[in-house]
Symmetry: C2
Subunit: 812 residues, 2 copies
């Protein structure tokens, strides 16, 4: 359908066609060995999909040997295996430090078969030993209840990339090689995956990779041709377009195309070798000269038939080279004896009896594998916890904001915390990076640039010297793609380092699914004994909903917390520090932790400060507490509990207490503040949760609670519906009401402003039913007045942000 | 930093450099006019950002004329205006039908100024009249409390793309031109936006656009050079790379680069004209021949300085052509009198007194605009509700699944419903499309292909004839990018048509943020009087969590409902039909509705069927109800209420009733089923919600309720925490427990299986404390036995899926 002039024959079938030609690095003997190795590996792949008994086909294949339910994906396996095994040759030849990232969906059989052939699998899981019974177990567990998945899950030795959700192989790979100058991440990209948005933009990662300080990614785009039921876009455009696309992305593409195995061995071996030498040449040039540059990094385009080496047709229908080879290639072997025979013939064609004589892979094939940690299935980088060193951390107390009278002065909590981050960057020059989608400066974290600038390998212009903060060797990673930033960070952490993502709160939903998947990875990793704990994934959210008044409705969405709260309590933590010292304490805690997803929500504007550092530490350690300095109940039963969670909601809640005390100086008010959101849920459901006894000590079981919350109010109800006295809980939060507003107006629309909260309290206290009416009127009047003034001027009246707590200790 | 050989001068400054050369379509007089028009438009843009008084600068500019809080983005405005106004010439010259999509973030001033100059704005909003006072109001309202936003929000005439969240301009544009053969969508893509994943892959949309039946997108990549605080990737790669990238994406790139306004006028005018003629030529060729093909569609790369025509420097710091021009270009005009003067000089440089003499734009400038609906700000396509025709719908009752004994037989609900969809496709050949990320066949909707195949404009291979279901003119849109599919669907709907997205449940989180943004668009549209209602965005989720046992943990996430439930009750609807006839009824309802986001969750496997069509209609209309055929309370007070929501949870809940009745034949059980999730919430909070009286009639306020839910259980608690008797509500659902399991095992892990539910019921009924113990033991034993059998065989025992309701009416 393309422009007629550009039509190109792009069938995956035929003798090898490749960019690198006339080098035949393999001897005839080597070709035979690699051919055997390929067969052995393909055999294992089919075995995983089909067999629960008779693993070596020592007996004729019968139905009883088959798994009852056939699951697994064959389609992309052959191409992945082909790449992996030919790269092994180069690892040995050049003593390379490499990992393999399997991007195509359900690609595990390929890498599992390699881990088994390399011996790693049996080392890690001794029950899957290198003998007939071990192989039987190895086959049976695959996609079998209680067994292992068809993705490269945490159980897979050598994996840092599960690939359950598609799109992140390249960003994970780049994350892994940053600050690992000798590492090469061989990264298979499925042509299905390549259609996703996150993958499509992640190719640009080369603009952020420094050939002196970072390693290299060698992407292999696998043009398998088909997805589940459709051809892939990249397999059906012209050769010229495909080549141009990669030149455009900044790569030098090398094609290896065909189905003839013998010629493909030479083509793949020579192409991979050429690419490795190119990588080494670029690195040497940059490192010898000390001048980082952005070369045209190599990318391989591997076009092989889907289900390569399988039957081209089954009956009259296409199989190899078509989407029917995507998953289980022959599905009806239980019911169709003819097809069972086809399968048996196919499997025997891989010669298991010869290649696994005695149940163990032939020694001369094993000799093709690297050894020890050079095996990609055993590289410690892919069990990053092994490499993880604790961050060198300055004492966060040294960055304390001086707080005299509580709520008596303002400071920029975020800007202050940036000093702490800056020094962490300085102390960990190869171990920590800050990530963000072009928002770090906007988020008031620019002081970090004093210790590490933004990595930039694109062109430099004259203006850049004027505050551009760009450098080839920087520590801050900024690309306008939350997906890429998150993917880099995940790869960086999973390979043993530390990091932090900062992002606008409203657009963090862009990576809901990525964070979900990372939570799932962490959760499963806890069950894998040999995986060491990795640094937590830390997400700092700012530009929060309550200060998105001027940006309007599209920028108002605090719902990421709901997504995170659905994940396993073993791995998620949510903190909403109310002020600057609490922010420091929370960040210190998060950056020291491991195996969590920590979400910290804090506004970036200047804010009232409440707690001196020592009190902040106590408050954050407890995660929730009564604030006596703003309370008037002094041990007596309170009339009302004014609770808050989040810096801006806390500010308004305190101002509401102030208003209430102005009108009712004798009111017994208890002020409760929540930093650690999961304190609200039962200790049975989350390790941070309070017991009901602890809950009642704070909230009683009979007092009205006016809870001002940062996010959607229903999240608090969801966490507290079982609590004693939960019927007294009145939660305010963002209710999806907003437009172009002032902060006051936005708060009023959602009833989180001080006036609304004070009126809420009056309404809920039975004792104020009568005498509260007048005060309520006044509050309403003050609210309307402030509102009108804001409408007229376009800014809120100064008395709102100028509010300070003026009472003595105990709020009197 | 690039390869030294390829370094290219890519400054945005200087005389025009363009691909199309030696054609100078504009006369000197025309250049002068366009120059004036440009100035008038730029003046309006600055006016919106700065002024609340003195709109025409009739007086010297003083602080009191300024808005108190300065908001808005100037950076991308000039380039957008330049494109818009030069395209106007071609609209008039060739009588084009066109819309303008503004991709760059906060790009509204550019399009608002055009709408005002074209007169549309004053027609729609008479208070912003074409005189001094009207202009003052027009200025003041911008980014002002109670006013309009800095994105192309629903209030913006001519907009179908708000651009609050970046990345969707191209997919929206393609969605709008599908089945609009004469429409051209001129689409500005910001170079910031271009870094996002969704945008990066959406360029491939051309592989799904048929030049005979569809219109054309003319993308203009605006190389503004900078994001908020960083250079953009695409502005800092070599010219060759940039050109290759677009050739690779399948386009013919045309460059227009420079800052010299006079030469840029000629370059832009001639380039746009060339591109329009190319589009017309391709369309003519395909339409005359009847042979659709995929041409190299034109794309324009417009490189102009950020903040073009502003001061190059402010004091010693770069402004024009640097990121400091991104937002408000001079921020301290309130405090710095010198800078206020700079601003005034700058604004007067645009000659407002001459161009808006008498407060109205000069007639000869207005004459440059198209008229009536040819104005891009007034094209009815951008108010799609005007064009929307109801779908032609077959009677869904004709597709009813025959249901004899309730829960007595199984059928494929999804496969059956596909017949209904197929006939909708057939009846609406230019008005309805089905979208999905390569999952339509997997989702059992393949019967749709009988009426409309999958659109495919890539190459065709021999295998495609073997069940490929591809065609250049199809009705099903499949690309492995949820982002692109969703963007296409949004664009298709917003321009007046109908559609449905089908997707795997686990990966719908990929587009959480897009759906959020669409909800917000719909919600705001309700407040815009002149916007007509558009078709609902319908999302059909299948491959649900409970049948993702074999795909493992990464495929288990039903949390999209939590994200949707946070949006405004005015626009979101969630349905979980329990069986095939209910699915038909729900789909019929959703496809007829308007201005909602409808989410329907249904499994794709074969299922027990419960309700004959007439009962299904009643049940779905009520949205919730008692199922007497599975109840034994017969008007008496029930001992327990077994409630369910979702097809698989319903199945297990009914089986649990069966188990309970086996052990306790005299038990009074009430069976309640929920189709419409928002029935659970109070009618105060959602228009579908039940009153408390209605609630009590179903659930009582004192009976234990065992509620089996499709998604995370907390969502039900969140919706029902206020209900009478909510302490009796025990909700089961997915609790983030899963691995490679059988369906039974997955259910048991999450306590949603029949055995667990029956035991739950026993535990909650005080009357069964004693006599229930034995039954409980038996249930536990049966559960363990089934579980072990599944572990051994790899599939669940047949008696589980073979379960049928065997009791008489009333469950006896």
């Amino acid at each position: 359908m393309s422009d007629a002039n550009e039509l190109a024959s792009i069938s995956a079938f035929g003798p090898a066609r490749s960019t690198v030609q006339d080098t035949n690095p393999l001897s005839k003997d080597e070709i035979e060995k690699y051919d055997d190795y390929f067969k052995a590996s393909l055999y294992l792949t089919l075995g995983m999909i089909y067999l629960r008994q008779n693993p070596l086909l020592n007996e004729p294949l019968e139905k009883k040997h088959l798994k009852a339910r056939l699951l697994g994906h064959f389609g992309s396996g052959p191409g992945q295996i082909f790449t992996y095994m030919h790269f092994n040759r180069l690892i040995t030849k050049y003593d390379l430090d490499a990992i393999f990232i399997s991007g195509p969906g359900h690609g595990a059989p390929a890498v599992l078969s390699q881990a088994y052939l390399e011996g790693t699998y049996s080392e890690v899981y001794p029950e899957c030993s290198e003998d007939e019974e071990g192989m039987r177990r190895f086959f049976k567990q695959f996609s079998f209840p209680g067994g292992i998945g068809s993705h490269a899950t945490p159980e897979t030795p050598g994996s840092i990339h599960e690939g359950g959700e598609l799109g992140y192989s390249i960003s994970h790979a780049f994350g892994a090689v940053f600050d690992h100058p000798d590492l090469i991440a061989v990264t298979m990209v499925g042509d299905g995956e390549a259609e996703t948005g996150p993958l499509a933009t992640s190719w640009h990662s080369t603009k952020f990779l420094n050939p002196i300080t970072d390693g290299a990614v060698l992407p292999v785009l696998h043009l398998n041709g088909y997805k589940i039921n459709n051809p892939t876009v990249l397999a059906r455009i012209t050769h010229k377009e495909l080549e141009s696309l990669f030149v455009g992305y900044g790569y030098q593409p090398y094609f290896v195309e065909g189905s003839d195995v013998e010629t493909m061995h030479q083509a793949m071996a020579s192409t991979l070798e050429h690419c490795v030498l190119e990588i080494k040449r670029f690195q040497k040039q940059a490192r010898d000269s000390g001048k980082p540059f952005r070369p045209r990094w190599p990318v391989i385009v591997l076009r092989t038939p889907k289900g390569w080496t399988g039957p081209r047709k089954l009956d009259d229908r296409f199989l190899e080279g078509f989407w029917r080879a995507h998953q289980v290639p022959i599905t009806d072997v239980h019911e169709n004896p003819e097809h069972l025979k086809v399968l048996e013939r196919w499997m025997r064609g891989y010669e298991p009896e010869r290649l696994f004589a005695g149940g163990r892979v032939a020694a001369e094939l094993r000799a093709l594998c690297p050894t020890g940690p050079r095996r990609m299935s055993a590289n410690p980088v892919a069990n990053g916890g092994l490499l993880r060193k604790p961050l060198r951390m300055p004492d966060f107390r040294d960055y304390a904001i001086a707080v005299g009278k509580p709520a008596g002065s303002i400071a920029g909590s975020m800007n202050n915390m940036a000093g702490f981050l800056r020094d962490i960057v300085a102390l960990n020059p190869t171990n920590f990076r800050l990530f963000g989608p072009d928002e770090t400066e906007s988020n008031k974290l620019a002081r970090v640039y004093e210790a590490g600038k933004k990595v930039w390998m694109g062109e430099y212009f004259e203006e850049d010297a004027d505050g551009g903060n760009l450098a080839p060797a920087g520590r801050v990673m900024e690309m306008l793609s939350e997906h890429t930033c998150e993917g880099w960070l995940e790869g960086y952490i999973l390979s043993g380092r530390h990091g932090l993502l900062n992002s606008y709160e409203p657009f963090i939903h862009v990576i809901d699914s990525m964070v979900n998947q990372h939570c799932k990875w962490l959760e499963k990793s806890l069950e894998v004994e040999w995986r060491n704990r990795v640094a937590s994934l830390n997400i700092l959210l700012t530009a929060v909903v309550w200060r998105q008044d001027h940006n309007g409705f599209t920028h108002q969405d605090p719902g990421f917390l709901d997504v995170v709260a659905n994940k396993s309590p073993e791995v998620v933590r949510i903190y909403l520090p109310p002020d600057g010292n609490c922010l420091l304490s929370c960040m210190d805690h998060c950056l020291r932790s491991s195996n969590y997803v920590n979400v910290v929500v804090a506004d970036k504007q200047e804010h009232l400060q409440y707690l001196p550092m020592d009190e902040a530490i106590v408050h954050c350690t407890k995660g929730i507490g009564i604030w006596p300095q703003f309370s008037t109940d002094e041990g007596a039963a309170p009339d009302v509990i004014m609770a808050s969670c989040g810096d801006i909601p806390t500010h308004e809640s305190l101002a509401a207490i102030d208003l209430l005390l102005t009108h009712f100086p004798d009111l017994k008010i208890r002020c409760v503040n929540v930093v650690d959101l999961f304190k609200l849920i039962s200790h049975i459901d989350h390790p941070h949760g309070l017991t009901d006894t602890e809950w009642v000590a704070l909230f009683t079981d009979d007092t009205p609670i006016i809870f001002n919350f940062h996010s959607y109010p229903w999240l608090v109800h969801r966490l507290t519906y079982k609590r004693p006295g939960n019927g007294h809980m009145h939660v305010r939060g963002y209710k999806e009401k907003g437009n172009i507003d002032t902060p006051l107006e936005l708060a009023i629309r959602n009833q989180t402003d001080r006036f609304s909260l004070a009126m809420d309290a009056i309404d809920r206290m039975p004792g104020l039913k009568k005498r509260g009416a007048e005060a309520r009127e006044k509050l309403k009047g003050a609210q309307i007045k402030a509102r009108n003034q804001a409408f007229e001027e376009g800014i809120d009246p100064a008395f709102l942000s100028g509010w300070r707590w003026t009472r003595g200790e105990g709020g009197k």
